[in-house]
């Protein structure tokens, strides 16, 4: 995949400014119906993640009581609990709202971490080539040889489950693809005339790498960051669903885990469907936005 034109050929991002570029990108994404829909959903998720705890009727572990003062276990959706309750008498809607924040936090932090790591590794590996490249690529091969989910399960059972550990593991999983893609991009960029020109003008190697080449791979990094958010949310949900998530935090995955164990698939659909739908909608919305963005980066996609 190659961007249609490099930043240097367009005359640099500088003219538009960072905010202008973001605004421009968003406007282009909005032009696609799916992109607009994705952005709308995504905005909704971000808002819920920010204000979720304020609007949620109960705390995630609060026990809801019926009018008679009994614990409201497995109550179907009603005015007391809009999405019903769990077998512990917790409010499903509240858990869902709190879980949104966890999902987004894991997704965003691990995506940023993995993209920074992957981009740096890809830049150095692709630009310097030779022994450095060889060593880094073999290291990447090893990283690709480790099956993520089994590896994460073992590490978590060794170190004990916690949210930071989950974020770290997801980051360690996501950087691999980014670094390979960025490296491939750098390999083609470093043969471009503007790099020769910079070298002829006496720029140091690091300056060429970070001032002249790095800005040209950034759009690609952003794409992989968006894909990383999607991957991070999915992986956290998968780990939590298997019961290896942080036991002190409510996430969509842990809700699915609890409801699955309690056999709610048979008896309490309102406990199973909301976290699953939230997860799916979130993932699909990120997918739609990234797809529109990808077409912006690579006009060839529009033709084929």
């Amino acid at each position: 995949m190659t961007p249609a034109h490099t930043v240097a050929e367009r005359g640099g991002t500088g003219r538009r400014g960072v905010l202008g570029t973001i605004g421009h990108t968003l406007r282009v994404i909005m032009r696609y119906p799916t992109g607009a829909f994705g952005l709308f959903l995504l905005a909704l998720v971000v808002i819920v993640a920010l204000i979720g705890p304020l609007i949620s009727p109960y705390g995630p572990f609060d026990v809801v009581q019926t009018a008679q003062g009994r614990i409201a276990r497995l109550v179907p959706p009603s005015s007391v609990a809009l999405l019903g309750t769990t077998n512990q008498g917790n409010d499903v809607l509240s858990q869902l709202l709190y879980g949104t924040r966890v999902a987004l936090m894991v997704g965003v932090i691990s995506a940023i971490g993995s993209v920074v790591l992957g981009t740096l590794i890809g830049l150095v590996s692709g630009y310097f080539g030779g022994k450095v490249d060889e060593a880094i690529m073999r290291f990447t091969d090893v990283a690709f040889g480790i099956p993520f989910l089994p590896f994460a399960l073992i590490v978590i059972s060794v170190a004990g489950p916690s949210l930071p550990l989950v974020i770290l593991l997801v980051t360690l999983f996501l950087w691999r693809t980014t670094s390979r893609v960025i490296r491939a991009q750098v390999l083609t960029l470093k043969t471009r005339p503007f790099v020769w020109a910079a070298r002829a003008a006496g720029a140091s190697e690091w300056r060429i790498l970070f001032v002249h080449i790095a800005p040209n791979v950034l759009p690609l990094s952003f794409l992989y960051m968006a894909i990383g958010v999607q991957g991070g949310v999915m992986l956290e949900a998968a780990l939590s669903f298997l019961g290896f998530g942080d036991p002190n935090v409510v996430s969509w995955g842990s809700m699915l885990n609890q409801s699955f164990r309690a056999g709610a698939m048979r008896s309490a659909w309102w406990w199973v469907i909301p976290p699953g739908v939230a997860l799916s909608l979130f993932v699909i919305s990120v997918f739609m936005v990234t797809r529109a963005y990808e077409e912006l980066l690579n006009p060839r996609l529009r033709e084929t």
Partner: protein
């Protein structure tokens, strides 16, 4: 040919290197375990002397390098020791579970590839139509929905509500055949296979379909098709010719897919209570049955590496230019 041989050797060396590295990481991970791996065996009534004897028995007081060498040798010769709980050789357990996992994955991959190929070649040929756009978006959206949630929904609908299919497991209770072959050829097994296979397919059909669609677009423009057309072949025959040429990249894709599925199906095995290697890993970790957990992880990693190797090799044969670069 010389180039090809060199390429294959390099790939083989890489396979060995990565396998050794993954094994070493696994060793370090289990060494970092807090407490004693024997804690399962030792309770508070044991005297110091008994604990020391146990450690000696399991070779835990040998120098670290000796433990490492012994571990590497045992793993590479598939000598995984004895399960802490089932008291049977771990190798037997792992082989059985791998077969079970394969029994779910192989049919799903075969069906996905066949149906995906047909769908993809149709999509490529109908390029630009309204249906084509809708199907592509649908496929991509379907792939991004987490498959374990798809599995849960499918179970809720087709098993719990409609009662058409069993709610999980590989065979009915008491319905075990005499042999693995006897089991997978039984109707009972097929009945249990339908739902997990369907869920896997919703995900796996995307990649062959999209791959074939894009290669079809390339092939569609090639000259040999014009020649076939000039010969007066009907359009249907021409599509077949084009498909055959578009199939090549699919071969490597399938190898990668197989390898990936051997680790990716963990969630589905849990949901469908399928007694495969992923479910065994989760159970072993919950039971602190470390020899089993270790072996499960190792065979999953090994299978992925092997399939990637196969993909590289096949690719070099299909497209000799790869070996040259």
């Amino acid at each position: 040919m010389n180039n090809l041989r060199l390429y294959l050797l390099r790939r083989l060396a890489l396979l060995l290197f990565v396998t050794a590295a993954v094994l070493t990481i696994l060793f370090v991970m289990f060494k970092l375990l807090p407490g004693n791996p024997l804690s399962v065996f030792i309770d508070s009534n044991f005297s110091e002397e008994m604990i020391r004897r146990q450690k000696q028995l399991w070779g835990l007081d040998d120098p670290l390098w000796l433990q490492y060498v012994r571990y590497m040798w045992n793993m590479l010769t598939f000598n995984f020791g004895t399960s802490f709980f089932q008291m049977t050789p771990v190798r037997d357990i792992v082989v059985e579970k791998l077969l079970h996992t394969g029994a779910m994955i192989v049919p799903a991959v075969v069906l996905s590839v066949v149906l995906g190929t047909l769908l993809g070649s149709w999509l490529g040929w109908r390029r630009g139509s309204r249906q084509e756009g809708a199907v592509v978006i649908g496929l991509l959206a379907l792939r991004s929905v987490p498959s374990f949630f798809v599995g849960i929904i499918v179970l809720m609908v087709f098993s719990y509500n409609l009662g058409w299919f069993p709610p999980g497991g590989m065979v009915s209770i008491g319905g075990h055949g005499d042999s693995f072959l006897g089991t997978i050829l039984s109707l009972d097994f097929l009945y249990h296979l339908v739902l997990p296979c369907l869920v896997l397919m919703t995900r796996e059909i995307t990649s062959p379909a999209l791959l074939l669609r894009s290669t079809m677009l390339e092939v569609k423009g090639s000259d040999f098709l014009d020649i076939l057309r000039a010969k007066g072949l009907p359009e249907r025959r021409i599509v077949m010719h084009a498909t055959r040429n578009a199939l090549l990249p699919l071969v490597t894709d399938v190898a990668v897919m197989m390898g990936f599925l051997f680790q990716g199906q963990v969630l589905l095995e849990i949901i469908f209570a399928w007694p495969g290697v992923g479910r065994e890993l989760v159970t072993a970790l919950n039971d602190l049955d470390y020899p089993v957990a270790q072996a499960c992880f190792f065979v999953m990693a090994l299978i992925i590496l092997m399939f990637n190797f196969v993909a590289d090799v096949l690719y070099a044969f299909i497209d000799p230019r790869v070996a040259l670069s």
